[in-house]
């Protein structure tokens, strides 16, 4: 049985990550605290940076040198990393950034919240770029998706983010550590000194006529590829379901409880969980929303994934939102009662129709 943060740290080590740079912030301190002891045991380096800005830039440097490396933080610290993240994406550097979220905006609190969805999926930094965003919903996935995140990040040469919250970071659950064979891909682009080859540059500014536009379309094409090839989603839909619940991360655990309760009452329901928030499973949701015809999105914010859900929905599908920001947690009972209300209303009530 491991704590979510510890499972994530072990996932990083299993993925061959040997460099951690970070600055303390609750509720993710278990990650650096654990790694400050663990990394030296495996020949790695742990640096407590003087700030989140230093952290993300140390990560940038380590990644440019060809290593698998990571940082972790929470809300305010992640906000401070936006410039660095934009540079990494622009320079096509991989690397893992973990956001164990807090409540925002501002100093906020350390209870669970999903209010950083937009920041993570739309690029909180400047310019046309995306992060690869994975959202675990169990301690096992804190481990598994960390390994996956390093894989995707290297594959696409783009920074990846694990978006989780205090529930997932603090909770303990049984975990199977898979110790997969570490396959760090060869990185011919890495800066190792111009020995036996031409000098190389890692940069994000291209000055030639039209080069920046080309570079932007190149990045865009990678994001389209991600969308086509590496979208992850969990689906659990009854035949002839009357309603489809959509939720991610810790919140999806409450929804899963509610789905269980609904089924035990004989309701036919469906459940979809985006595991990658970017790329978002637009196609899956379009298809399922067509079949089911009624959707309830449940989020722990004021309705951020709601944008992506609505951009996916099949036209004519009835869609509602149950949102609880600021540390409010929709209880299974609350979700169930909302579901029942919607089903009872049938076609009459049309909350948040899209």
């Amino acid at each position: 049985m491991l704590q979510g943060c510890v499972a994530l740290a072990e996932g990083a080590i299993a993925a061959g990550c040997r460099y951690y740079f970070g600055y303390p912030i609750t509720p993710q301190n278990d990650i650096p605290e654990y790694l400050s002891g663990r990394l030296p045991q495996v020949g790695g380096v742990f640096i407590q940076a003087e700030s989140e800005i230093a952290s993300i830039n140390m990560l940038l440097g380590a990644s440019a040198a060809g290593a698998r490396a990571m940082t972790s933080s929470s809300g305010p610290g992640i906000s401070l990393m936006q410039e660095g993240l934009s540079y990494m994406a622009g320079s096509e550097l991989p690397g893992l950034v973990v956001n164990i979220t807090r409540i925002g905006p501002g100093l906020g609190g350390i209870a669970s919240s999903q209010g950083d969805y937009w920041q993570a999926t739309r690029g909180g930094g400047h310019g046309d770029y995306r992060l690869i965003v994975l959202a675990p919903n169990s301690v096992q996935e804190m481990y598994d998706l960390t390994i996956k995140a390093f894989y995707l990040s290297d594959k696409y040469r783009n920074p990846a983010m694990i978006l989780a919250d205090a529930i997932l970071g603090q909770m303990k659950e049984p975990v199977r550590l898979k110790k997969p064979p570490v396959e760090i891909p060869h990185k011919p682009w890495a800066l190792t000194g111009a020995s036996g080859r031409k000098a190389q540059i890692i940069k994000s500014l291209y000055l030639g006529d039209g080069e920046m536009e080309e570079h932007n379309w190149h990045l865009y094409e990678k994001y389209e590829q991600l969308q086509r090839r590496d979208t992850l989603v969990e689906i659990d839909v009854d035949d002839n379901a009357d309603i489809l619940l959509i939720s991610f991360g810790s919140c999806s655990r409450m929804v899963q409880s509610a789905v269980g309760m609904a089924r035990s009452r004989g309701l036919k329901v469906g459940f979809v969980r985006p595991i990658t928030l970017f790329p978002f499973p637009h196609d899956t949701i379009r298809e399922l929303s067509r079949e089911v015809g009624r959707v309830l999105t449940v989020e722990m914010n004021t309705g951020q994934m709601w944008d992506d859900v609505r951009l996916s929905l099949h036209p004519g599908c009835r869609a509602s939102l149950l949102a609880r920001p600021g540390g409010g947690i929709p209880s299974p009972a609350q979700i169930l009662s909302k579901m029942e209300k919607l089903l009872k209303a049938g076609d009459k009530v049309a909350e948040g129709i899209c």
Binding site: M1, P174, A258, S331
Partner: protein, 190 residues
């Protein structure tokens, strides 16, 4: 089966470890488990609590509004959580730190025992009160067996803590025979 319980008290009473032991024991019984601490800006000194869920099927929410069991080791935690016990649920109270008169619920089973004194008398350590209480909980609820708790203690307490294993086992078993010490086991009324 599905069981959710909050363990609560002051920081320093070993609340989180107690929950960990409970969850680990249940895991050894091939149950699904989750352990979720509550924590806050005021982690230091103040209150400590965690929620443990044990289930024979995959667990959704690791936190619960209404709970089946509450272990309370302090007055503030009793006041804070007693209202969340389901009707018919169970409270195990360490009366060394909370007057049983403060219990307002009539619709639950109550095990009130001076766990700190018991721990001191029986194993020579006030600090083992948490294990006494856990033993009592296990024995009464049957959520896990005392044997699995002992086994879990051996798994969890390693390194410098290994030497505590015998004491812990003894304290668990004291708790297991809670009826000997109990000021009041009050089953649900009406």
């Amino acid at each position: 089966m599905y069981y959710d319980i909050i363990l609560s008290g002051f920081g320093g009473q070993g609340i989180l470890l107690t929950g960990d032991l409970l969850a680990s024991a249940a895991m050894l019984e091939d149950k699904h488990v989750t352990w979720m601490p509550s924590y806050g800006v005021e982690m230091r000194g103040g209150a400590a609590s965690c929620t443990v869920v044990v289930s024979s099927t995959r667990i959704g929410s690791p936190i619960s509004e209404k709970i089946q069991g509450l272990i309370s080791m302090s007055k503030p935690s009793l006041l804070k959580y007693q209202g969340r016990i389901r009707s018919g649920g169970l409270l195990v109270l360490n009366t060394s730190f909370a007057d049983p008169d403060l219990v307002e619920r009539e619709d639950i089973t109550k095990i009130c025992l001076p766990a700190s004194e018991i721990a001191y008398q029986e194993v020579g350590e006030y600090k083992m009160a948490n294990m006494v209480v856990l033993g009592a909980f296990a024995a009464h609820s049957g959520v896990v067996s005392l044997e699995k708790l002992e086994e879990a203690a051996e798994v969890l307490l390693t390194g410098r803590k290994k030497k505590l294993v015998p004491v812990v086992k003894k304290a668990l078993n004291c708790g297991g025979s809670y009826k000997k010490y109990v000021r009041a086991v009050q089953p649900v009324k009406g």
